[in-house]
């Protein structure tokens, strides 16, 4: 039991982060994370060591998160995964990259965007949040995502594309970034044109 306790301590924050990314609500994520550990403990004899304990635990956490969400909101509509011409015509490409500059890891705007990320994630559908969280927090590959979500690799790629696009669009919107000007500058909501 002490060994399991130390496993909980070791992985609790990451399991919580995955749950939070999928279910959005902090209290629900807390409960889901606990439930994932309880279920993992009950299923310990079913852990065959084919994957790492970490992978196995996160598989349970993802399943519990999705199940909890579906219990709460079973009516969520499904979205198409395929990429169409219309998905590439909004003209917003590159705005975030330009705004974040050449070293996006160390800018004030990046920290501001990070503050808005949770809200941006919350605007995504369950399946878009889930695939982004599995890709970025768990670090799953295309193959692993396909296996975990029961979809083809091509669907993984197009779903990730849509999820990123929507997340970036929500981020721009929350940060008030509207466009770039021809000189490469960034326009924010409320900016007024320079008077001659």
């Amino acid at each position: 039991m002490d060994a399991f306790r130390s496993l909980v301590v070791r992985y609790q924050r990451k399991v919580y982060a995955v749950a939070l990314g999928i279910v959005k609500d902090a209290d629900m994520a807390w409960d889901v994370a606990q439930d994932a550990f309880v279920r993992a403990h009950r299923s310990l004899d079913g852990f065959k060591g084919e994957s790492s304990f970490f992978t196995w635990l996160f598989r349970i956490a993802t399943r519990v998160s999705i199940d909890s969400l579906r219990k709460e909101r079973p009516w969520q509509r499904d979205e198409v995964d395929e990429v169409r011409d219309v998905d590439l015509t909004d003209g917003s490409e590159g705005i975030l990259a330009t705004a974040l500059g050449t070293d996006p890891r160390d800018t004030l705007l990046r920290r501001e965007l990070a503050d808005k990320m949770e809200a941006a994630l919350a605007t995504l559908s369950e399946k878009h949040r889930t695939i982004l969280v599995l890709r970025e927090v768990e670090g799953l590959s295309y193959e692993e995502l396909a296996e975990r979500l029961g979809i083809h690799k091509g669907t993984v790629m197009s779903r990730l594309f849509h999820a990123r696009k929507k997340m970036q669009s929500a981020l721009r919107s929350y940060a008030g970034i509207t466009s770039t000007d021809p000189s490469g500058g960034i326009k924010f909501e409320g900016d007024v044109a320079d008077e001659e």
Binding site: M1, F4, R5, V8, V9, Q12, R13, K14, Y16, A17, V18, L20, G21, A26, W30, A33, Q34, F37, V38, H41, R42, S43, D45, G46, V83, R84, D85, D87, L88, T89, E93, G94, I95, L96, A97, T98, L100, P104, R110, L113, A114, M117, E118, L121, V133, E136, V137, G139, S141, Y142, E143, G154, M157, S158, L160, F161, R164, M167, Q168, L171
Partner: protein, 158 residues
């Protein structure tokens, strides 16, 4: 645009996730397509931000009670029927097979006992009658084996 629809989903792939021909085709497309280069730049600029934000949020939360709450849920007395049912559910194939074998064995044993009870001859009951052709002795086949009836000596021999 048609090519962009094909290549845009490949943007953001990690090394080794695309086949060699796919990776070469994507690289060639990016050289000629400003829109997809911008998409790639956006993907790169925001790469890792989701994990960073969620883990930072988790780090800010006080996890002191978490482990005790988990252990309490695991050790709760009411948990054992749930655990038992869960174990049964996990091993439903094995449980079904075992139940099937048990039922078959029980049915077999019952049928055997029934048939035995109905058809078994009473002890010493004669099942058939045979005559020994050589000696003219009468042989009774009983459940305990053959019994040869020897004619009583009438004392007239000699």
């Amino acid at each position: 645009m048609k090519a962009c629809v094909q290549f845009a989903p490949m943007i953001g792939a990690r090394e080794g996730e695309l086949s060699a021909p796919e990776a070469r085709a994507l690289a060639a497309h990016l050289e000629t397509c400003a829109k997809c280069r911008s998409l790639a730049a956006d993907a790169e600029a925001t790469e890792g931000m989701v994990a960073e934000v969620l883990l930072a949020r988790a780090s800010r939360r006080d996890f002191a009670p978490f482990v005790d709450q988990v252990m309490a849920r695991i050790e709760a007395p009411s948990a054992w029927p749930v655990r038992w049912m869960a174990a049964l559910r996990r091993r439903w194939k094995l449980a079904t097979a075992a139940a099937g074998i048990a039922i078959a064995l029980l049915a077999g044993a019952s049928a055997f006992m029934y048939v035995r009870h109905r058809s078994a001859p009473e002890p010493e009951q004669i099942a058939s009658l045979e005559i020994d052709s050589e000696g003219g002795n009468t042989v009774l086949q009983t459940s305990d084996g053959p019994v040869v009836l020897i004619e009583p000596d009438d004392g007239s021999g000699g």
